[in-house]
Each structure stands twice: as structure tokens, then as C-alpha cells.
Symmetry: C2
Subunit: 101 residues, 2 copies
Amino acid sequence: MRPTPFHAIADPTRRQILDLLRRGPQRAGDLAGRFPRISRPAVSRHLRVLRSSRLVKQQRRGRELWYQLNAQPLSQVESWVKEYEMFWQDRLENLKRSVEK
Amino acid sequence: MRPTPFHAIADPTRRQILDLLRRGPQRAGDLAGRFPRISRPAVSRHLRVLRSSRLVKQQRRGRELWYQLNAQPLSQVESWVKEYEMFWQDRLENLKRSVEK
DNA sequence: ATAATATGTAACCAATCGGTTACATAAAGG
DNA sequence: CCTTTATGTAACCGATTGGTTACATATTAT
């Protein structure tokens, strides 16, 4: 079962990993090094979730594994959230809508 | 502990509840009625999660409880995702960025 | 008062999650 | 070859999740 991007970004560590990858591809070990409080295998498993939801791609280079951001699936999240924009952009409009009902 | 909006929208049923509430306030029972496959108490607990992450507000009207969308916390999700827009909008740019590194 | 209606909560359960330590695998270096 | 380095996986564990059924509470109707 492929986790939805909604599920993948629910975890704060996974969001942080994606944030790090915006600066460019990184090795698995480098990423793990950024999280002093959790073990390398834990990060490795977060990477697996991100991989299976297609948010990152991996590429072997010798014995190193480089992870690269693939933001595409996030467009699904954006388009969902976008439908809610009008509801917080002005509250008057929101209120009006409710009253009309 | 207040769940983040990221966590709240990770569950598909909760997203659907929010979708329903875009059309206007609804009673707890009406919402539950929209989900034939899961029990009313289950929906009630999803509502509790949404409540504690401030995505809905409730209002008593006699013996009915009306739920209303409060989209505000979703702006947090939107602004996070927004930072990734450029990464899927054109892949050439994305590729260039990687190569520069 | 009593019953009916609308809704939340408690107790329980199996599945999933996120972490750990120990082990497996694969490539590079001496 | 054997060792080191980089990384994933397995087994295990306690906490959380999402569902269920049974019960509690509050408000309206008879």
C-alpha cells in the first residue's frame, strides 16, 4: 500500500528531511547526521516511507546512496488545501457563507 | 498535546469531514450519516481530533451540536507546501539546481 | 416523571508507528 | 582476502490509532 503524501508529511521528522533535501541531494548518512536525537535506522525508515510515497528518489553512487527530493506528490496536498484558502482569507466572507445557509 | 494540522489531515475520513463542512455548518449526526461504513462514535472521535487541532468549532443548539469549519490552521500547511511549489512547477529548473550543487 | 433523541465517553482490541539494538549486504581499500 | 564504510532490514517494544459495543449525559417531547 502506497502511503498518501498526506500521511507521509504528518510526521515532523519526515517534514524536516524534505526541508533538508530542498537544498539538493544528500546522502542517507548525512541526513541521519542531522538528527542527533534519533538513530540512523530510524531515519532510514522515515526515508523508506518517503520513498514509497514517491517524495524522494534514490540513486546509488558507489557505496553511497543519494536521496533527491521529488516534490511532485505534494501538489496533491496543495490542491486540496487550496480549496480552503478562501475560508481563512477573510472571515467576513466566511461568516456570510454561513449565514446564507 | 494539540495535534498539528499536518497530523489532523493525515486521515482520509477527517479530510472528508472537512470537505463536507465547506458547504456550511453541519450537525454531528448528519456528518456521521455520511459515513455508512464506520460507526457514529468513530466519527465523533475524528471530530474530537479536528476540534483539538482547531480545525472545527462547535456550537450547541438545543440538543444538537453544530460543527463549523475553521480553516485557519490549514494556512500553516499551505505555507509549508508552498515552499515546494517551484520544485514541481518545472523540472528543468529542478534539474539545474541539482547540477549546480 | 418518563421516554425519545442527539451526542460524547469508556473500555476494549487489533493494527500501525516510531523508536531501539543487532544483524545483513554491498562496495572500496589495504 | 579481510576490513572498513555506508546503508538497509529484522526483531522487538511501548505508545498511538482507528475501529467496535456499551454506557453516560443533556435536552426536548409526551
